[in-house]
């Protein structure tokens, strides 16, 4: 098929598009919800102050200009005039303040958005088009965060409603509106906002959206989603099962677009603080003794790129030079394990030391497994057996899982953390993010002052080159410490009919529909 991003012909206004996603949301209001998909659901309705392009640069949107104070603590914005919410309210500085305050208010129980502006100190309204946001500590990741849907701007009058109401209905200034709102297990329908005239700087056109109707449906079963697309019942789907990608590409009238997600890959993390992986040689053996890259290419039929570092190559600041360290070398792995004293073998061929089997405890949430991660776990288990390591994939329920992780009772943990900025590294390897009773994101328990210093310095500068240098150093240190087993780079695989044109991806690899149109 031909690429839908490449515009062929002139966009046509009108028509409706139905898009099916694989995961259900939990709450439409992105201020509250942590779910990726809720960002997708709310994006057509909500605009942000700024927009972010794939290369990490910030562009205007509802704010036309901005500046950062020298101490990196205060951000000043000049707002676009003449913007109205779809309920008729005017967008102004007070609205910005109301939104940011709403995000951090405890009653909102924000599970993600508030975390991205954790050191938020307050907002000052200078006049209707000028506003200042202050922080307690420097936060260079603020502008990229601000560009995400999680900090999207909602109509101030709606923010006073109970949080529960916002979970189904939100009002914004965006190119689409939804009167029916989001309904669990079903999805959401949108209508075009004809008055829209303040497209982000990253968009391909201005004015109202092309599509007059948009609906996003929730279809978790891979086979159903795929079948519904190929049988023409819907126009586009998220997460084409990798097994079907080649098939779909070869089907006339259909096409697949891929967008690699930035941030942390889907990675396995060793617990470096205790257990078998406290020994760096064992970690290294695990990294080198398993042919991660072949497993990933095979399992995902080449549709997901094997990861070769703590970050996704799609992240700004990705350091390519570390990739060599992640090559497969079984002989070296066996030598390392022998050196580490795991020289015995038991009846099933696993290595032992002092009679104890070399067991890696891996609590694995099977019920939440997406993208055949359970199959992947089986294969990694089988591959580890080849070098004499037993990976024990337990399947606890979420509570037991959280308790285990909180207490550090595991040797191996897996998760993905997609963020548009390299600040994801801080989340994943910053000492302060290690699990302390509750869930933490630094699952490897990495605790290296040099790495932490890189992070603090990077937060305090908005100079992208400087940042890249600091994050590059961190990536090297993390690789040297064997604090991560990179698995795959998540590719947003969007399958669609070739009639669907110009679906764009925002930097976090979510599709946006403002520029999209449908060939009649």
């Amino acid at each position: 098929g031909d690429s839908p991003t490449a515009s062929t012909g002139t966009p046509v206004s009108g028509g409706s598009l139905t898009f099916a996603v694989n995961t259900d949301g939990s709450c439409l209001d992105p201020h509250q919800s942590p779910a990726d998909v809720d960002g997708l659901f709310s994006r057509p309705i909500l605009d942000s102050l700024v927009s972010l392009s794939a290369d990490g640069t910030i562009h205007p949107w509802l704010a036309t200009e901005w500046s950062v104070s020298a101490d990196q603590l205060t951000y000043s914005f000049t707002l676009r005039d003449g913007v109205t919410f779809s309920n008729g309210e005017k967008f102004d500085a007070a609205a910005v303040k109301a939104n940011l305050d709403h995000i951090v208010a405890p009653a909102t129980k924000s599970q993600l958005a508030a975390g991205t502006i954790a050191t938020y100190a307050g907002t000052t309204v200078a006049d209707p088009t000028h506003v200042q946001v202050t922080f307690k500590t420097p936060n260079s990741a603020f502008l990229p965060s601000l560009a995400s849907a999680y900090l999207g701007i909602e109509a101030p009058s709606t923010l006073t409603k109970p949080p529960a109401d916002l979970c189904t209905h939100i009002v914004g200034t965006g190119p689409f509106t939804s009167t029916g709102g989001y309904s669990k297990g079903k999805g959401i329908d949108y209508a075009r906002n004809d008055a829209y005239n303040w497209a982000p700087g990253t968009a391909k056109h201005t004015g109202a959206a092309y599509l007059s109707q948009l609906s996003i449906k929730v279809v978790p079963e891979d086979a159903s989603r795929y079948g519904a697309l190929t049988s023409g019942q819907i126009d586009a789907i998220a997460s084409v099962p990798p097994v079907n990608v080649a098939q779909l590409k070869n089907t006339p009238g259909f096409t697949v677009q891929a967008a690699a997600a930035p941030g942390g890959n889907y990675n396995y993390y060793p617990n470096t603080a205790k257990g078998v992986f406290a020994d760096a040689n064992v970690r290294k053996a695990f990294r080198e003794g398993i042919d991660w890259q072949t497993i990933v290419s095979k399992l995902y039929f080449g549709q997901f790129q094997p990861a070769k570092g703590p970050l996704s190559p799609a992240t700004v600041g990705y350091d390519k030079t570390i990739e060599a360290a992640y090559a497969y070398n079984a002989d070296e792995a066996n030598k390392l394990l022998d050196a580490a004293g795991w020289t015995g073998r038991d009846g099933e061929g696993y290595r032992t030391k002092n009679g104890a089997r070399l067991t890696v405890r891996h609590p694995f949430l099977k019920a939440y497994a997406r993208e055949q991660r359970d199959t992947l776990a089986d294969q990694i288990q089988a591959a580890a057996k080849q070098i004499g390591i037993f990976v024990d994939n337990t399947n606890p329920d979420i509570n037991a899982y959280l308790a285990d992780v909180g207490a550090g009772n595991y040797d191996l943990a897996d998760f993905s953390w997609q963020r548009s900025s390299p600040d994801a590294l801080r989340t994943l390897f910053g000492a302060e993010n290690a699990p302390k009773g509750g869930f933490g994101t630094n699952l490897s328990f990495t605790s290296d002052p040099a790495i932490d210093k890189d992070f603090t310095d990077a937060l305090a500068t908005t100079d992208l080159t400087k940042q890249a240098e600091l994050y590059g150093d961190a990536q090297h240190r993390i690789t040297d410490a064997v604090a991560v087993f990179p698995v795959y780079v998540f590719n947003y695989l969007l399958g669609s009919s070739t009639k669907v044109r110009d679906v764009q991806f925002e930097p976090q690899a979510f599709p946006t529909f403002y520029d999209a149109w449908k060939r009649p």
């Binding site: 097994v243 497993i295 099977k366 089988a382």
Partner: protein, 269 residues
């Protein structure tokens, strides 16, 4: 039996299943968990009779190895439920008014919560896995058995042969054990044969919901459940475990119905 090839076939099939459950290597020498990443999802062939799955494992070997666990879940859960249900049922029917009412209400409460929901609750409390699936399945099916046993006991209670036994000089507990319980169990055993099938089927639903036996254990429900992602490109990972489940349940049902007729002395008629 001679005139019914279906019955003979069922017994032969069950016999083969039993063999496979005890000595799986009689039927397949291949390691059911040997993943071969180079030959995933290859269709049935001389080398892999039922083809391979997404991990390149031999489906035939997995179906054979799966016999043990799949039967274990169905049979053990049904057996546990049968024993517990019978005890409760007899107790309720033979006990005093108060006991009867209390047990009855309790049964009602458990019956009013849909089975799968209750299993999910049990698994939420105990955690997923084979053992807990069995416990959950047994727990949810127990009230049903108890109800039926209780009904049977109440029906039989007035039977003339119980009075005859009393006239012969048996004591009450002796009558209950010798005559009442064995006779009340008849219809329940039929229920149990259906129950084994149902348990295997619910078990596979649990796998579908991600709560069944854990990988890489070969279990039919789990195999069936994981096959669904590949259904559009490969039919064999879905068809063979599905056939295994269906054939097993069919054989158990046919054999069960035949045995019931035998017990009731009707096959001679």
């Amino acid at each position: 039996m001679r005139s019914r090839p279906g019955v003979v076939l069922s017994f032969v099939f069950l016999f083969v299943l039993a063999l496979a459950a005890i000595w799986p290597h009689l039927f397949s020498a291949t390691d059911p968990n040997a993943a071969d990443i180079q030959s995933t999802l290859s269709p049935p062939s001389g080398q892999h009779w039922f083809g391979t799955d997404q991990n390149g494992r031999d489906i035939y070997a997995r179906v054979v190895t799966g016999v043990r666990l799949s039967l274990l879940i169905g049979v053990t859960a049904s057996a546990l439920a049968l024993i517990a249900g019978s005890a409760i049922g007899v107790l309720a029917a033979q006990g005093g008014r108060v006991l009867n009412t209390v047990v009855n209400r309790l049964l009602d409460i458990f019956l009013s919560i849909p089975g799968l929901l209750l299993v999910l609750l049990v698994i939420a409390v105990l955690g997923p896995g084979v053992r807990n699936s069995i416990i959950g399945l047994a727990l949810v099916t127990t009230p049903g058995y108890a109800r039926v046993v209780r009904g049977e006991v109440i029906r039989i209670r007035g039977a003339a042969y119980l009075e005859a036994a009393k006239a012969l000089g048996w004591s009450r507990p002796q009558i209950v054990l010798r005559h009442l319980v064995p006779n009340a169990l008849g219809p329940v055993l039929v229920l149990a044969t259906i129950g084994i099938g149902a348990a295997i089927s619910i078990g596979s639903s649990l796998s579908f919901l991600g709560l069944g036996p854990q990988a890489p254990t070969a279990e039919w429900g789990a195999m069936l459940s994981s096959s669904r992602d590949y259904f559009t490109v490969a039919w064999w990972p879905a068809i063979f475990p599905g056939l295994a489940i269906t054939a097993t349940v069919l054989a158990i049902t046919v054999a069960g119905q035949f045995l019931q007729l035998r017990v009731e002395g009707r096959s001679q008629a």
